[in-house]
Symmetry: D4
Subunit: 250 residues, 8 copies
């Protein structure tokens, strides 16, 4: 089944023209390309409206290379690879158009999608140690087609540094607030913003930082409304949800 075909099918579901069950059954006929080392799930992308994403953490360089290549050959032009080691990055077939963002451990086969939205997603961090997680979030959003504004190292212990960005905060469409230690950044930003805020706790800190649990708990108990939270160090998850929100049809 060609991609366009699937897209049409899906469109029909949305319009109620065909029932979900029918579609599920039809899709089941060729649900994923089994390339032995992985089941390439073309459905997920379809269902969720995103380009292809490879979670690199538990895959060998060889596996990532094969999967990415298969996808690219299948016509995919924006393939995001998260938690990708430098070793895996170096292994990628030289014929593929590939960029590696070492800080964020993010790889991109193909090119970033053009933003449809003029507004931006704001990515803010409490400290400099949070930057790798922030870059994972920011690049995820950029690759999926969003403008991103970065505001790093604006932790609440120096509140004037954060307030200097009040306008950036008030004009953002979505905000990703990233912090370790006590994670207070989410609450302060949540109080200043009138847009959805996604908080990402990081494992930055020591002792009772408990590997990010303290920041997580802090963010879940934010006294500001409109803040939700993702897993510790999950920059991708925040970037992905921010992308979904930013591209809401009005």
């Amino acid at each position: 089944m060609e991609q366009q075909e699937i897209r049409d099918l899906l469109q029909q579901v949305k319009e109620g023209a065909v029932s979900t069950e029918e579609v599920l059954m039809r899709l089941k006929l060729e649900p994923f390309e089994d390339i032995d080392i992985a089941k390439i799930d073309n459905h997920r992308g379809l269902r969720q409206g995103a380009s292809e994403i490879i979670y690199g953490a538990s895959k060998t360089p060889e596996q990532i290379d094969v999967i990415a290549r298969k996808m690219y050959e299948g016509g995919q032009r924006t393939i995001l690879i998260t938690r990708m080691s430098r070793e895996a990055a170096e292994y990628i077939d030289k014929d593929l158009p590939f960029t590696y963002y070492a800080d964020a451990k993010v790889g991109l086969v193909g090119q970033m999608i053009e933003p449809r939205q003029k507004g931006y997603i704001l990515v803010a961090t409490g400290g400099t140690s949070d930057i790798p997680v922030a870059e994972e979030a920011a690049l995820t959003a950029e690759i999926l087609g969003n403008n991103v504004k970065r505001v790093y190292d604006v932790g609440v212990a120096g509140i004037h540094r954060l307030l200097a960005h009040t306008e950036d905060i008030m004009n953002a469409r979505v905000i990703i607030a990233i912090a370790g230690m006590e994670g207070a950044l989410a609450s302060v930003i949540g109080g200043l913003a009138d847009c959805p805020v996604i908080a990402v706790p990081t494992s930055v800190g020591y002792g009772t930082a408990l590997g990010g649990v303290t920041a997580l708990l802090s963010m879940l108990n934010s006294c500001a409304s409109g803040v939700s939270v993702v897993n510790i160090d999950n920059g991708f998850g925040a970037g992905y949800q921010a992308h979904l929100i930013n591209n809401m049809e009005g």
Copy 2:
């Protein structure tokens, strides 16, 4: 300072006509009406684009009544009161237009705001015990001006009950997935939906349900992308963020 005046001021900030600092300073002149038992913070509403909200949990019936009355007299026509006891509900001044939703412990002084968006927010629960939290979420969203579709008791142990609502899931603009016990609902819905999903763990369960912590942890580790999480039993928080997302300008 009149409300319209403040709104104009805020608009200027967004347009960059005046600096945030200027506004903050001007607002500081009359930042909240101090009615002795509470500081009525008109700013928060302004900053966050919502009607007034009273968190009823730590307030006496008398206090809630006074605050709500003051607000109503001040021109507010949609005042949402969360975690409101029946006792407090009965205490509310009979002259005020007041509705009490006992299940959700939600009170409304004035009326619901008319939805601007045609689409709907889907509120789904794993079981019937999750309904009070779900109603808090649903009513929050409805009062703030959103269409809500409720799909209750569709826990994953009977997956066909959930799949029967696949179309509801695929057509939603935002989904609030509410579950206690093992909280698996968020992952399954997250995998089916292509819109933002806000997961709410509930304190339903016993033993190792740990008062909702198990559902929370489960939701934070959802293998589906695009899921974020709020505090245990925080229906209001989810409803509020869903409202912000649903009203994004495209």
Copy 3:
């Protein structure tokens, strides 16, 4: 041994005129008045430079009454009773000069000590639910002879409310920052102040607030320097240490 006598003795220790061991041995001759239901420890007060303090939580009204009366008869003119139930307050001998602060569950037999210091201790809270703990802290400090300035309900989700008190913060000699939920207040105040900050987590909140543990962890991981922490809801402990700091000899 008369109080003045003991004071002289203690002074000699500080001057090195007598060894600590000598004093300990002498004190041991009459270390506490045993009134059957309690050992009235006159030493602690001496050692720690404070008036007498009765921890009311685990004592019956009768016991508190007897102890307080004995102390008063012994010449004590400032007797602070913490965690005192209303029932216990009503039981206190009507002949004693007694004041009860119901919010803080603090009782005072005798009168407050006159402040020696012109400056003040600032007591700030994130929300109104934190006020009982704050009052325990504030009254402890006032009774022990300190000026106290109260700034309540200045949680970080409405940062402008806190910033409106920047001068209060910058001019304080010691600050007690009290908050439940995510406890971010300590970090923001810690960043603004150049004096010692004592943070008090409170048990305010629900779900993952974990009865104050989240606020505690948050405060221990404050990214601001100069912040230390006491036990959950321990207003007395914070007030007591603030008193010691405020009365440092320059």
Copy 4:
């Protein structure tokens, strides 16, 4: 005492011909072969009706080799070695019939037992990272004489992948559901199956996955009936119990 002899004895217990005490006492005469580095417990096998099992985790290659050889010389023809390092595998006496399953860290001296049951045990995983644990479970069951059907990478975030195996699930005699992260697989399978389900949480995930504790808690709180749980990453335990269940006499 010869093996057959012991077996007869045990049979008599079951028939009530001799009392347990008598047997225990007789067995006590030669309870285990003490080969210095280990007490080879022939009883356990007898009592529990399984072939011999060596838990390799805390033993040196030399020790495993000696124990396995002794057992083989003693007539054992199916010796399962779990948590066996590659180093230990390479050390095994070349004269022994030996197979090493590197993924599962399982070694087999001798051969697999022929299945008595035609039906199969289904081993399902949420992701590919769970496969090592799954293989430990599957090989344990196969070696002990069971047919096994593997269904890997069917996590609930792509529910259609799991539903594609509905018939496999409904026809299984026992199911082992293996998942890390949020562990929701157990609940969904538990709801679809009408046979016993043994859930195995794995340590796959990061941050709040808490090394498998989240998946464990999730599985213990499964809203489906008929699900029980073993320790984190305990593929062997699940495979062993599944074997016992699969071989129940009708």
Copy 5:
């Protein structure tokens, strides 16, 4: 659709005559009887081969009565109600054939199913305080059609009391081992038995018993093979799984 009809349909699935999808779709036409206060899910019973079960914990006496009556009128002759309060038991329609087991908080509308299996499920407890949980397990199994042998108060601190039942243990088809405090019973029984053992931790104990968490952890780490675990105090879950195992076709 009549029950027999559904049963036939399900049988066809097992034989592969119709696909699961077909069945799911057909069942979807009348998936549950919606009696307003509940969705009576006739499917679950079908799918899982059990009679109807009502989880009474979160339902009012009125609700339980209505549901049970509807089921009984629908032809159900064995309706198990768990976690049923005495109040709810007294509310049940006097015309229904009803038995209440107060210790176990179990109600039965109709009668127990006749056991198909001659062998028995052994239900053992460490102490007398564990008996309510044990009775929930035992009655669940009995009502679903199993012989049950009870061996209570055989905790490992008096090992001779347990050993006196060695024959009962060795002859059981399935064992449910129930204990609070340190939960050691599961390990000792697991070592003596050659059948599947389901361990149920109970919330019996104080201090570091942690409401059953200690027993749970202990059971998950049992050094005996063939032990799996259910949630704290989940007697029903254990009884249900034991029933599934006991009725395996050989």
Copy 6:
């Protein structure tokens, strides 16, 4: 803006001559020197009355060198570097006046500030393993201009060793009590002292020491008044707060 200028400005704030807002706005014009790899925040030092501090843990040797050099060139004569690796210490520009304290992992560019106070801060440890943390605390205090008296290895299991220092304790102006394992030192010292005590739990210990959490909990529950606590192993934080307290104006 020159440093003297800023200092004058700040002085005016304290005197009320200018409002805080004015100052904040003026400072905002040149808030930090952006040297690309870091934002050198000259404000924090100003606001908090300390010399410059570099937190070395998350910075490369190159980064530390550049920042320290920039600061030194900017006129700073006391630059404290905490959590500095030996590698980073060796990388520091040889032209800078630099001292490295290997035990404490503390570096000093420039020289210690002369103490204004005659009295001393007492730094006490329970064991010898706590010394690195103690040295971080002691050097922080010394570098910032305080006299420090060290009393190490005086754990409460040998109470006479601690009592031998009773006079040191009674004469101290501030005490930093540092201990791992059960952390009882803080309580005993807290009972002997009449000055503020800052307790530092350390990660010394094994098993249930839980990496310092046990000592932390113990210190938070000290039965002595006047004890507050900082994060595990946070010698710097304790030294810094002790410095603030020691330099209170009387």
Copy 7:
């Protein structure tokens, strides 16, 4: 079998005259008197050399009365009942010689055993709130035939109060150190004593006292040698073990 008979039998075991197995088997013939509501286990007493003990926590007044009466009629003259409610105490048959110790919730049917040892067990507490647990420990020891010296309210925050009892500590044969909050008493006593110390954490405290867990952790990490620990609030357990130690034959 008469008690003397059993005692003789047991003696023979110790002398090696008969094997344990023989005894176990003989005892099995009449292992416990089954009085329907309880299995009166005469063995435990025999095996462990103590008089009879009834754990009252989970028994009704009627049950306790019946069991105690049966035991008394069976010749027992020292029956210790722990965790006995006042209600149960009042229910005890008036014909039985009965004493109730309300503080400790301990009941005694018959009389205390005469001490064989001249020396004493020291029972020390940190505060007055620990006294109920201490009395359970002290009475357990006294009833079983031991001299007990009580030293209450000697918490380490007033170390001179504890040191005033140095001789009591150094002359004790066994010490039971009981404390809540930070539990430091065990370490200080452990350092002063040269006899075994049994530490009992209590649930006294609030916030991070965590219901006794903090004191427990603290005691397990005592830096003094020779300290072991029992469960939170387990005065009986400590008293019982102290009794065993005190009556060691030299």
Copy 8:
């Protein structure tokens, strides 16, 4: 002060001839030999009646060598070194009479003390992985002058292996029960023994063994009386307390 002198002094304390305070003061004159790298505390040994003990974990080989040599030169003939690395063992001065027990990481300078007691301490383990901890306990006891009987690998999953040692258990004077995983050994032994049992949890296990916490919790909740517990892996602590108990004067 010569050792004999100190011993005499201490004897006088016990007899009441001199007061403790006098002795403490006299001892204070020369409390410990300060050899720069350590304060050799001759008091602890005196106070606690043991030979010298060096805790090797946090000391360099050089430090251990110097301390041991100093002690030996000072006349000590039994110096126990715990947690001693092989590297440290090899560094010890060849002129010293030294033995290293690699399994237990125990070093001995000089010789074991002759046992005064004929009876023995039983050291039992659940598995072979627990042996290093057991050997630390056993050697501690032996070096301090006690007979030790070892019974290893008698975990409760093979209860007959443990019962085979019933006589060893019933004849022991003190028992040290060592186990990881579920730690059930302590309860079973506690039920069989009539002497004090000291339980040692070990960090053996994986997943929910939680590094020994599960075994610890299990042991603290032992349903057998007379069991107390030490820290995880603390073989020394158990051996030391067993030594104190075994040498009680009758």
